[in-house]
Symmetry: C2
Subunit: 139 residues, 2 copies
């Protein structure tokens, strides 16, 4: 089972915005695309979805662009994942009466495990990890 590239792009974009969050300035789509190595035209669509979920916000006109709607500590990987796809781990069995209930329960167990893990990872954590990594190179 493949995690879609879209989620990866979305997460990278939020990381990129999180790094610039302290400056308070908006980041243009193209800059963000270059920085995170994602196709700009696709990134736009993802950013719009992220905006509708109140994860990022946008500024129009010259000097416009995107910035985080909330501090990185209040945005979890689960938020981004659920924004990009619907639910993480959507069970196909929901609408199939042939699926035994015990199996349905098992799928739900997997889903909650995933959700809880993803919700436990905030982008502040990811920033800190990245900083630690950079420091280790410095030493």
């Amino acid at each position: 089972m493949k995690l879609s590239v879209k989620s990866d792009y979305a997460a990278r974009a939020v990381i990129g915005l999180a790094k610039h969050f302290p400056t308070g300035a908006a980041l243009k789509v193209e800059e963000l695309a270059n920085e995170s190595g994602t196709p700009a035209n696709y990134l736009v669509q993802i950013l719009i979805e992220l905006k509708s979920r109140n994860i990022v916000k946008s500024v129009r006109g010259k000097e416009g662009g995107y910035l985080l709607a909330r501090p990185p500590g209040e945005i979890s990987l689960g938020d981004v994942l659920r924004c990009v796809h619907g639910r993480v781990f959507d069970p196909p069995a929901l609408h199939d009466p042939h699926c035994p209930s015990e199996l349905r329960a098992a799928w739900n167990k997997l889903q909650t495990a995933l959700d809880e893990t993803a919700d436990g990872i905030t982008f502040q954590h990811l920033l800190d990890e990245g900083a630690d990594k950079a420091k280790m190179y410095y030493i």
Copy 2:
């Protein structure tokens, strides 16, 4: 992110075989398909994959069919999932150098969470749950 119907079918098939495991008799593909509500022609392909991973085994000829290769307690949902798809939660970032390492670590964390949960659920557990459910109706 959608869990594929294939995994659902595979799990249902193994549950069906697990129920018949005590009898020691082989179950024909068509019987299994009827019982688990899966398209027989598609189920065949899934069963072959399950066989190659030593989850089920087959008997040819008249009175032939499929049966579990191991007792239900030794088969986990993770086994079936990994058989049907490659890895559960394959991160697309693996081959993309632009993906920051901290994000890669996060994807791995999600993957291991999922794997551990799925490996913790054996089909014996599922059978017991189903039996409990039946008993509750009985009361």
